[in-house]
């Protein structure tokens, strides 16, 4: 499969694939691939869903520091909802959000903490969700881009991004938004230079930086932010 950042179905020249897509329609590329996987057409399932689909029940997991285990129970709070889950210990927070919870807003760009597309807020602080394990965040409050909107209403920051056309392909946008929300909260949005410095962990290969900075600046100027001096 060609690497394409969009979540939406993409045109493909293969006729057989087209036919399959039509049969499965209406569907997204993701659900299409899932169905292929469950039908055994694709060999590998994402490692992170193994906890759900493993034929053997997971071993009793350590409640405290007693016994190390490779499948671990944890309760994670994501966007205000509590999820008691069992995951493979090696599951990153990013994979957990995307594969186990289906919260695919957070993107896997580099998977090495370099691009910022996976940025989420943990207890209000931005981190790269690709470089942390899901099980490490028991009891933490996690906010993803899906949690920025309230009751189907986009946040003012998201609104500013749209008005300023602060993206092209959109692949980095979820990370940019979470990072921008934190940047504003930290009080690091007082000038263009400051925004550029404190948003430097979020790369945009389309080069929408001037518009991203403009959106953050406008939001900052219009909205007094708590915690800012």
């Amino acid at each position: 499969m060609a690497v394409h950042p969009s979540d939406e179905p993409t045109p493909d020249s293969g006729d057989a694939l087209e036919d399959l897509l039509k049969q499965l329609s209406p569907t997204s590329r993701r659900t299409f691939l899932r169905r292929l996987a469950s039908a055994g057409v694709t060999a590998a399932l994402p490692a992170t869903v193994l906890a759900e689909t493993s034929p053997e029940p997971p071993k009793p997991a350590p409640s405290s520091s007693a016994t190390p285990a490779s499948v671990v129970p944890a309760t994670l709070e994501v966007n205000g909802k509590s999820y008691p889950i069992e995951v493979e210990a090696r599951t990153t927070l990013l994979d957990f959000l995307r594969e186990s919870l289906g919260l695919t807003g957070s993107k896997k760009g580099c998977d090495h903490g370099q691009c910022g597309a996976c940025t989420v807020l943990v207890n209000g602080r931005r981190i790269n969700s690709c470089l942390t394990l899901a099980v490490m965040h028991e009891g933490d409050k996690i906010t993803t881009v899906e949690g920025l909107a309230q009751d189907g209403q986009l946040s003012l920051l998201q609104d500013a991004f749209i008005r300023h056309d602060a993206f092209q392909c959109g692949f980095c946008t979820a990370g940019q938004l979470c990072s921008a929300a934190a940047c504003l909260n930290e009080g690091h949005a007082n000038s263009e230079g400051e925004i550029r410095e404190w948003m430097s962990g979020n790369l945009c290969r389309c080069g929408a930086y001037p518009n991203i900075v403009a959106a953050i600046q406008e939001f900052h100027q219009q909205t007094p932010v708590a915690g800012q001096s």
Binding site: S65, P68, A89, R90, G116, R125, I127, L131
Partner: protein, 330 residues
Amino acid sequence: MNNFAYVRANDVDSALALIRSRPKARFLAGGTNLLDLWKMGVEQPQTVIDISRLGLTDIAARPDGTGLRIGALARNSDVAGHPLVVNQYPVLSRALLSGASPQLRNAATVGGNLMQRTRCPYFYDPAFPSCNKRNPGSGCGALNGYNRNHAILGHSDQCIATNPSDMNVAMAALEAQIRVIGPDGERVIPMGEFHRLPEDHPELDTTLQPNELITAVDLPPMADTKHAVYLKVRDRSLYAFALVSVAACLAIENGVIGSARIALGGVAHKPWRVPEAEALMQGVSPDHSIFERVADRFLHGAYAYRYNRFKLTLARRSIVRALTVAAAAS
């Protein structure tokens, strides 16, 4: 990426007991380096011991003006923004803020930063067959490879990697003391002895012993906080590792330098200090010619490779520049 067993340690004693009892076990704190290396296949832990909930996050003045103690699990962003660090150890705050990204600094810890491994691509990517650090005895891919960001000081024919940390450079200039605990109890390692030169054992980055855990970093009081500079030169203005960096802490009274502590980053397997060069500045008035003499003495014995010759000039100019800025600060 291999699977591993996970366990959360609830206190220092259980963390130490766990690491002793499990083969190929690793402490996991912020995860920004260990998990990255695990994904690359460089690290293949069998057990990961999560130490992120041990506490050890306090940043507090020590009694009787004896300095500052920073918990090993304090986040880089918390250290950089702490008023005691900003006001009393500004060089540390600036070094931290010049490193990585806000997201990484929110996760990375002080102890983890001390343990951060080299970014030498021959080490970081197992697709390269030769790396004495990753696979002792396999050779050094960088020696005759693309060695643009490699060492010019203290290297051996076994390894020419550099320590990538900005924090470590500031810690070296501040003469930090690393507090560790292990099977034989607690001990303190001076920052200058914490990181090793590669010599014949480049696989050993530090003098930390197996099954030891870093608990805190102590900073002695700084006599003069005004004349302290962290200068970082890199390929782009933000979010890049240093080509060369300089932490310079001068104590200047009545126009005369009382003491100078300078550490160089990006040039060696550890933050590079030269006490003889620093001594040249003692008791003299700061001026350009003394800065140049210091820089020359600092780089005595420097040796560059095919792609990093520019570092010889860059390091010299960076030292002079950092000292000029530090001395002129008011």
